[in-house]
Symmetry: C2
Subunit: 225 residues, 2 copies
Amino acid sequence: MITAEQRRSSTHERFREQVRGDVKGVALSQLAAGGPQSISLNAIAKELGVSGPALYRYYAKRDDLLDDIVIDAYHDLRDAMDQAVVATTDLPDPAERMRELARAYRRWALEHPHRYELLFKPLFPGYDAHGEPIAEASAMLIGPALGLLGDGGTRSRLDARPEDVDHVVRVWSRLHGIVSLEIGGTYAAMDVDADELFATEMESVTARLARPSTVQQGRAVPSGD
Amino acid sequence: MITAEQRRSSTHERFREQVRGDVKGVALSQLAAGGPQSISLNAIAKELGVSGPALYRYYAKRDDLLDDIVIDAYHDLRDAMDQAVVATTDLPDPAERMRELARAYRRWALEHPHRYELLFKPLFPGYDAHGEPIAEASAMLIGPALGLLGDGGTRSRLDARPEDVDHVVRVWSRLHGIVSLEIGGTYAAMDVDADELFATEMESVTARLARPSTVQQGRAVPSGD
DNA sequence: TCCCATAAATTAGAAGCTCTAACTTCGTAG
DNA sequence: CTACGAAGTTAGAGCTTCTAATTTATGGGA
């Protein structure tokens, strides 16, 4: 008899996790090749050498696999942002740190365009319905930026200052608009220099970030940009 | 024998166009109900009382129907923007006209969220490949804004000033970022006032639009925001 | 070592989809 | 009135997701 206690974190569960990883690996290559439409459990099974419904032991529905891929993408982007945060701890200028964070965000999106687009899709069917996962995902993405604005750790990101949240959301909106159009090929089609547009826009949106030495706690100036 | 000459704009062709309209109507309701995934030629046929492959006389592939829907959406959004342009001819302030244009854009997107998202999708499979349709669509969407900045008709939108194109693309990027996140439910999930955020952002991005009386030809100041 | 419960994988198959092919129906031009 | 061409029909191939029943493999307890 194998108890649930033993199943968790045993070789069994590790094996299952490994299979799920393989499935997601093939799914990601399908995603990159032909978009989310072309992710097929059947084709993945054939690719992995197993046959058909075997994968339904690991994902009850195809959408569960897609959800897993979306969650992974969120964590991956978040990791890239966290790395940018720790890599810039020496920089004294919070505006420059914010810009570096934005660059990391854009870099990840351009490296994984299909996954980035997937991040803003799954709300399709009932786009006004499920607010909790969206709130969770949003909090995840603005977390690093809030950490940059906050007073260095004493304040949790969950109860950030409303003006900081507002400011970060504005930065994010602008960032997302640029990255989204860039991935879509709009800039390329119009001969717009995406690098330059991104640089000047991010300069503008972070310009008035007060330096910690000038203003207490390094908080942002709430109004304007 | 029916010549191609006669087929065009005869009752035949008009009937075909009417059927295509019915098909698209059902497709749009399916789109609103369950996203583009759930648009099915089979189900549409059943809904229209005809059976199965009959619709393949009107759309060779399912993707052709989707393309048609995307094109319609582009024209529809463009129409909404054009209406905003003509409705504000009396306003002397180009900044306020631009803001009204942005409001029309946002209004359309919020009224047709699924169609708006569809506008930025179809580039998925080979997102670096087909640049012509993207260029065409982009030119279509920034046309009204370029008309607002241009010297009142003597200059065609096709050879607009590079600084005007740059400025409009920046406005569009910001607009799209906000609208896209709003449709995705991000603002709602984070208790951010979308109306206010949109208003202040559009104020900021159009603030430095020179008035025609102050600067010749009402051109925009290229730098800054 | 043997047994047997449990997990994993298999095949069969239902229901749905896109899309092709062949056949029938019907309106209309000549 | 004929006969051509367009529109719609059924049949069916091939793909998909996902369920059900069955077999195979594995590993802990006696």
